[in-house]
């Protein structure tokens, strides 16, 4: 009889340890990336400054890098030069888009006038497109392939090496070989 009690208590302890292991093994604030391999939510948004409407559907056939940012976000400002560099490196193979997150058009316009941006910056009214993408904070960058499938996402400011690696994965092995030449 006693061994049954011991066994039951051991099992209960093992279950508790398993739960604790699972709980402590992950960051409770980390938002899961659910849209990997899923079709990117479509959008048609006005570009800052020009007012031109940019639609994701019209970009089918070209890989897209979509960066969510805002002027009040320090890491976004820190990341800005890297995005400029990435555009110069890969802009002929990938379409770069910025999406202003939870900020006013005036703030964004003033910042871009000062810092510059070689690619379109989209105004996302009330950040509804950002919620469609599952954005939890900025900066966040999404890598969408030519078929409109979300391949990857990066949370936080990216450095050049990280950017280059992800772009190569997005472009596939043949393009990576081209870039490597």
């Amino acid at each position: 009889m006693k061994w049954k009690v011991t066994l039951a208590l051991s099992l209960a302890c093992a279950a508790l340890l398993f739960v604790l292991y699972r709980g402590f093994g992950q960051d409770p604030h980390e938002v899961p990336f659910m849209l990997r391999g899923q079709p990117a939510p479509t959008f048609a948004l006005k570009a800052l400054g020009t007012g031109e409407v940019v639609s994701l559907a019209e970009l089918r056939g070209t890989p897209v890098v979509l960066n969510f940012w805002s002027t009040w976000c320090g890491p976004c400002r820190m990341e800005h030069p890297t995005l400029d560099w990435a555009f110069r490196q890969y802009g002929n193979q990938v379409k770069f888009l910025g999406a202003v997150f939870e900020d006013t058009e005036e703030n964004a316009r003033a910042y871009i006038a000062r810092a510059g941006s070689p690619y379109p910056q989209l105004i996302d009214p009330r950040s509804q497109m950002a919620v469609d993408y599952g954005v939890a904070g900025v900066p966040e960058t999404y890598f969408i392939d030519a078929e409109g499938i979300i391949r990857d996402k990066f949370v936080g400011p990216m450095d050049r090496a990280t950017f280059a690696t992800r772009i190569r994965v997005l472009l596939g092995p043949s393009a990576s070989a081209e870039l490597g030449k």
Binding site: A15, V31, N107, A130, V131, D132, G134, A136
Partner: protein, 172 residues
């Protein structure tokens, strides 16, 4: 001191523009629909806060998510469809109460199960007969009062030298 630090931080934030400008949310829906919006908002976790729902959070992203719920409900989506929309983007992490399914049952039933086991152990201990306790643990005899031990009984043999010694010591 804390008040001073917070004031300095807020002042610095205001000067450097390191804050999300307050933006107006979408207009509330008609009362019955808005009640659904708020109820669903209470079920969803704010991504930038500590254990707070998007209905209670002052964060800008929470406001954007609440606006999205309004949009979905206006489009005629059911509550389950709204939940599914958020789970598809943020995972079950977004639900403040995890779904009662699969491994999650452990979270739901675990506390109740522990309570039941605890009561069962207490009940069993209460129900145990004192004599059974005594026979179950001979070592507990040492805790009995000395006077009871000194009473002659069948269990104490006349040859018990230790008891003889104790009696003689007590008689002094």
């Amino acid at each position: 001191m804390n008040a001073l630090l917070i004031s300095l931080f807020l002042s610095a934030s205001a000067l450097t523009g390191a804050y999300a400008p307050q933006q107006a949310g979408s207009s509330p829906l008609e009362p019955a629909l808005e009640a659904r919006v708020q109820k669903l908002g209470k079920e969803l976790r704010c991504p930038t806060c500590q254990g707070m729902s998007i209905a209670d959070s002052p964060a800008s992203v929470a406001r954007a998510q609440l606006d999205k719920i309004r949009g979905l409900i206006s489009d005629g989506k059911t509550d389950d469809e709204v939940r599914a929309y958020f789970v598809a983007r943020y995972g079950e992490w977004i639900l403040l109460s995890p779904k009662a399914a699969g491994f999650n049952w452990l979270v739901w039933l675990g506390p109740a199960l522990l309570l039941v086991v605890g009561f069962a152990v207490i009940f069993r201990q209460i129900q145990r007969h004192p004599l059974e306790k005594k026979s179950a643990s001979p070592a507990s005899a040492a805790d009995e009062p000395v006077e009871r031990e000194l009473q002659p009984s069948a269990s104490t043999t006349p040859e018990d030298d230790y008891l003889k010694l104790v009696r003689s010591e007590l008689k002094r």
